[in-house]
Amino acid sequence: MTETKPITYAWAINHAIDEEMERDPAVFLMGQDVGRMGGVFGLTRGLFDKYGAERVRDVSIVEHLVVGGAVGAAMGGLRPIAEVQFADFLLLAGDESFHKMAKWRYMHGGRLSVPMVVRAPCGIQGGVGAEHSQSPEGHYWHTPGVKIAVPSNPADAKGLLKSAIRDDNPVIYFENRRLYRNKGVVSPDPDLLVPFGRGTVARPGSDVTVVAWSAMVPAALEAAEVLEREEISVEIIDPRTLVPFDMETVAASVRKTSRLLVLHEASLTAGPGAEIAARAADELFELLDAPVKRLAGADIPIPQNMALEPFCFPQTDEIVSAVRDLAKW
């Protein structure tokens, strides 16, 4: 692997799309403003000039069409990357995502395939309010038939998106807008994939396990630095994909630490952390010395006032105190 200059999470996404479009002529992109403008967040810059209007398709305000059309195009032999401008808008295409994308193959006896990716920018940032800030990965985790990627850093952002595009199943790829400018070293190797269903140890430790993904990983890393000064050693597990979910890596960590905190940005109640906590209670009971704790977003719609945003999702100091409490057991 050649060492290169660090690139941003946003640019890693751009590279993944570019490389896969170059490799496979069946891959194409559609969404609002993905063409000449290069995306409202600038992620698809350069692709329109390189691949043209046939493969980088601007659409009108047609979320049903973006997702449903991608399902049809995928069945017809293409590999669509459908972009919704905000993950919240994926919920507009509820029928197309919950019913068509997730179920079409199964409902038809497994005789049709729907190899497509929906890119869904998620996360609380920038005062955009209740309908532009959600992280609805839990909604889709509760929907059999879709894979879910939740990358936390540039290298995973690239490798997971490439895997998603090559996957013969539908994938929702949640990219957190707070991470777009984060930098990291990313391999330029066009064949380097990050496999689905394999979590990673984002930071090794021995006292408390924290399961975190997406923008909660950098927050957990920051908290771990603080806690290290207090001689509490935190191990951070980043599952990287929720479907499939790598419970083994979580189990291996809890075997060392006997304490588990599940962290996420989406609101707490019936959120994705409930699933992980339930599985831990069920499968890891004998390893645990403390109750499984969850720290997650507040059970409210996100207010527009930016000054209130930090109160809506777990902040570093809250993670620190949650881990401290667990470490006392």
Partner: protein, 327 residues
Amino acid sequence: MTAVSPDTRGTDERGTLLRLYREIARGRALEDVVHRLVQERSFRGFFHPGRGQEGLQAGVCAALDSDDYLLYAHRGLTYLTAKGMDPVEVLGDFHGRVVGSTRGLGAGTVHCVDPERGVMGQGGTLGSSFTLSAGLALASKALGESKVACAFFGDGASARGTFLEAGVTAKAWGLPVVWVCENNGWAVSARVQDVQGTNDIAPRAEALGFHTQVVDGQDALAVHEAALEAVAQARSGVPAFIEAKTERIDGHYTGDMQPYRDRDEVAVAKARDPLDLAGGRLVALGEDPAALAQIRAEAEAEMAAADAAARQSPFPDGSRIHEGLWA
């Protein structure tokens, strides 16, 4: 918007109409088997009979090539057999046997599938075919194939927002879609006039820039000719729309007594039975009524045999539910 007139009929009217007559008879015989399954309770789901609408379904499907895509609607089964599906697989789905097209998961009206014949399935949520057909048509175009994507739907489903979203995009991209509205005037118990403020669906397609035709859906040949034109338009990159004015002779589902519907109206609908109309025209063209009776008898025998064959197939075991979710 063009109305198809009978003068545009091709020279081999009798031959074409005979072909359509056979498909209508096959579809009807297949549905008659399903009605029996409902009565004897070997099929317990809802069945939405297509009686009265078989002529338009046969007419359109006969204009499609075997690799053209089909997203059928829930109103009967003639689409499936007219597109070439094996009735054993269709009945296998109703019986929930492994010979069914879903290989044991079961289907009835929706979910029957046959990728080799372009039958790309159907969903239970009405109006989802607009976006799916646009996507299939996009794939055909992008891959340099000449397939069209044909989607059937009712007057009710035509009110879904997906119609507009997929329609504007199909127009913008020049997608080879053929949308066929089976306007039977009813959505369950709701009259189209009462809930949509109009009886006419085609103007909205015309407004989107589709090549649009309105045709008597009880005249299988007229529908067929409209469909040939629609398919040609679609293949040339102009999305095409047909509104077939048709009759729902039976209830919304088998067993629906239609208390909301005027008896006289049902009688009028029955008098416009597409099988009878096609048969009458054939006799006027010199066809022997006995030959038509023979075609109907063959269709009934074919479907009875298909039913027997489907019943021979085993039921899936419980582990079947865990197969096929993932590629």
